[in-house]
Symmetry: C2
Subunit: 424 residues, 2 copies
């Protein structure tokens, strides 16, 4: 199947390449041409972009997709009340099959926001693998060991079972957080990481009290120092949130080529703080971006996260030139993809996977046009996503999903599950 | 013309009234019924809401609509460079007729974000009046006296000429800011306000240096104290931004029943700071919300502003329970309407103007449903706006504008003007 996009404005997301008028050819699941004029042989389908923008899809580098049951269930509460009194009791009642349906709602939402992949941290990875595979959504699953739930042995089994089974779905190793694991678990995880030569990811330095607690428990080591000391950064990997990262923590992540993944919406809504993103970028860290789950940051919208990331840094640094639009756009696309190991999904370039989106520039928030990349970050909204293509297949276009599912049926299932969880 | 909405979920925005299933009847430009079952006589048109939400439209209580030419033109710059080197030189070249076309782009954008009115602060008010009237968009114009541009006499003439001419358009008195006016101008403005019995509005305490400068120039008085001392708050009115408001400033605004209008997107993007909104609310101030203009806060999107207002307060107060979703929703609807003098556009209630929107709840970011009001604020996006009705007329529905204009023609005009301004 060859799909030719004509009449496009193209933003490849490669450094130094601005927006240009051109064509893009998709052959099977990969891009085979990007430039001024594509070869015309054996084209199956031609899409006239009518001057709209093609760019790589956003990659949501941190989420908990199945938590859609908790959207707007417990907002505006103190963190402890939110987690222990509202979220955990319901989460404990989730069945694996529930997660399958709840994941689907989040996948639909990702598509509407121009996301072509997610890094999903949750239990029962097979349920997300199943939903992702059926709906054609690229997903990197992340094991989540804690002292109460998934074990390292289970994660190793998942790693071997899931990787390689479907080209859209892969599996990585992770731990929930330092404060929910024993040192024994983390040593076993480090061994697994070395055995499988696989990077490890975790929630890290999300709150000030987490960092204090870690130092108290581990001889003054910060969560990043502790992670390094256990060999958990030996294959790169990285951390989610990184709000309370010291310069030393940044240095450790840099040394191990680990990625920092920021979730500005969640961190601000839960008043965890503002991560020092400009320092990450200045230090040369790879920076990714995520929405976190719908329980804490209700709408999973990369436009919101990109814009918020910029303005929070400007507030933090008291400098309106801090963290410009391009830096945010890069984090939400290339940086996230690198963190997730999706090295085939970085740019619009021949040979890369056809994970791309079309942004409607004929919307009032995009007009008149002075700078398209800045428009996407500072004026963009889900409303502007005209098309989301994953692995060469259009999964969302002009407000319609193409995921082989009855959308209202997905909503009905999710509502039924949510009502049941709340009722008991 | 009678339009009946059936099968709706209804959020009236009256305190203490939650969302209920019901019907709403629009008769001419007003709502004539809200409740469980509307009278069926002489209905011209019935719209089945299919379970979607009807609520009052958002009112954008601070904007500069004609500045769409500067969208994404000069971001990520220090404030002084932005204003003096990039914005002012182009603004100086604007012709009145340019503004007419540039305003139209912003009106389209308001409609997509579910805004049914704006409080527009700019020069040449007749140009915005003309665009608003032609496109059916409710607009409160705000005169903007400075020592270099509009005079108090011109504003008085505009006040008399514009008010009462078209039911959708009204005119109020304003000054750009303390630091761009002489005391003589402000005394004349105060006289005009007393003569016309009209409230006065201004940019106020947007930056720390503005407050310091005012104190230096005016015997230690803050901008709010100075405003009061000149009798400029004698008819209520209010201020935009109010970022660096002291407790005393809050007390002054409260005493005069003046409104504080917050623009969190602009204040953070320009790193001006975070206004102490929780203090305003605790003190009983009327709080409105605005986007500011597209030159400083590129996308004019009330969903972004509402969500941002909440999370910034949570960060500022280090308390995730601070400034809940309802407070934000109220500011963006009722609070803004009160500030703008639109007392007929507060609620969904018989007798009020039919300025209302339909929010599509069958979107993945709205599913499953736990709390609709929190969904609108924390998960909502322009994408969810299914319909925008102003004065009983549908101006936007399912992505299509009904404003009696060729939309691409509007974009073409705006682009031509923008290119001309930049070229010279």
């Amino acid at each position: 199947m060859k799909t030719l996009f004509t009449g496009a404005k193209i933003l490849t997301m490669k450094d130094g390449e601005g927006v240009f008028d051109g064509e893009l050819l998709v052959d099977g699941e990969r891009i085979s041409y990007v430039g001024r004029g594509a070869p015309r042989e054996n084209i199956d389908k031609t899409i006239d972009c009518r001057g709209n923008l093609l760019m790589p899809g956003f990659k949501n580098a941190h989420t908990h997709s199945a938590m859609s049951f908790a959207r707007s269930l417990a907002d505006d509460l103190a963190l402890h009340d939110w987690l222990f009194e509202r979220i955990f009791p319901l989460e404990g009642k989730l069945r694996p099959d529930d997660q399958y349906h709840l994941n689907k709602v989040s996948i639909l939402e990702y598509l509407t926001s121009g996301m072509t992949a997610c890094f999903d941290m949750y239990y029962n990875p097979d349920e997300m693998a199943r939903a992702a595979q059926e709906m054609g959504f690229r997903t990197v699953l992340l094991g989540t060991v804690t002292k109460d739930r998934e074990s390292v042995e289970e994660m190793k089994a998942s790693y071997r079972r899931i990787n390689g089974r479907c080209p859209l779905v892969s599996y990585r190793l992770g731990y929930h957080a330092e404060y929910t694991c024993t040192e024994g678990i983390l040593r076993a995880l480090s061994e697994a990481s070395h055995e499988l030569k696989c990077p490890v990811f975790t929630h890290i330095s999300e709150t000030a009290s987490e960092v204090e607690g870690c130092k108290r428990r581990h001889g003054g080591l910060s969560p990043a120092e502790y992670m390094e000391s256990l060999g958990l950064l030996d294959y790169g990997g990285g951390g989610f949130h990184c709000v309370h990262f010291s310069d030393k923590d940044i240095g450790i992540f840099k040394k191990h080529a680990a990625s920092a993944i920021t979730c500005p919406g969640s961190n601000s809504k839960l008043s965890s703080g503002i991560a020092p993103l400009t320092k990450f970028v200045d230090a040369g860290l790879n920076l990714g971006m995520g929405t976190d789950g719908p329980a804490s940051d209700n709408g999973l919208d990369m436009f919101y996260e990109m814009r918020l990331a910029c303005v929070l840094q400007k507030l933090l640094r008291k400098d309106p030139s801090a963290f410009d639009a391009w830096t945010s756009l890069k984090a939400a696309t290339v940086g996230s993809a690198k963190a997730m190991g999706l090295t085939d999904c970085l740019y619009l370039e021949a040979g890369q996977k056809a994970d791309l989106i079309m942004i409607d520039l004929m919307k009032p928030n995009m007009q008149p046009i002075n700078n398209i990349a800045k428009n996407v970050v500072y004026a963009g909204a889900k409303d502007d996503v005209k098309m989301t293509m994953i692995d060469g297949i259009i999964r969302y276009m002009d407000g319609t999903f193409h995921v082989g599912e009855d959308i209202k049926g997905i909503y009905r299932e999710a509502q039924g599950i949510t009502d049941r969880l709340k009722a008991a």
